[in-house]
Symmetry: C2
Subunit: 99 residues, 2 copies
């Protein structure tokens, strides 16, 4: 039984959460790549992006936790794809937000 009043609407929270995930250029680059070719491997991204491997893992984790991508281990590689359901959700939220 929560007594606290909600400070913001669900929609506001969602837009903020997803926007945060888009708030770093390397994450934008990752999503652009994934949305272009549906899937790709950590290693392929690591070759192209100007950051350390461990940093890439961190950014992928942020995107995963925001629900924008999903990872799948395909030993010895890890394959990442767009989470289409949430992708479409965000798309709708953004379009609605900007009129």
């Amino acid at each position: 039984m929560p007594t606290e009043t909600k400070k913001y609407t669900d929609k506001q929270e969602l837009i903020a959460k997803f926007s945060n995930a888009l708030g770093h250029p390397v994450r934008v680059a990752i999503l652009q790549q994934l949305s272009k070719q549906s899937c790709c491997f950590h290693g392929d991204m690591a070759e192209v992006l100007p950051i350390a491997n461990s940093t890439l893992s961190q950014h992928l984790k942020v995107l995963r936790e925001a629900g924008l991508i999903q990872g799948e281990i395909d030993p010895p590689k890890t394959k990442y794809c767009i989470n289409k359901e949430n992708w479409n959700l965000v798309k709708g939220l953004m379009i609605g937000f900007f009129d």
Copy 2:
């Protein structure tokens, strides 16, 4: 003569910058309000939002520096409006980003 290689494209940087500005629910709320009624005063927002006055000023500054809003002093009040040019820019960037 810059020798450094650019790490990210201008578009990636822009999307990240604007997304950052949208990355807090109170800023989403502010923009929703402004886009609904074109302009409003600091004081009116302060009455509605669950944050201190000084914190509101900080958030408005973030939005101003991102170029999403513009402020105008109308003594003794300050009036804020959407920056329509950039609003449309972001809208286009986002729509393009999500296909």
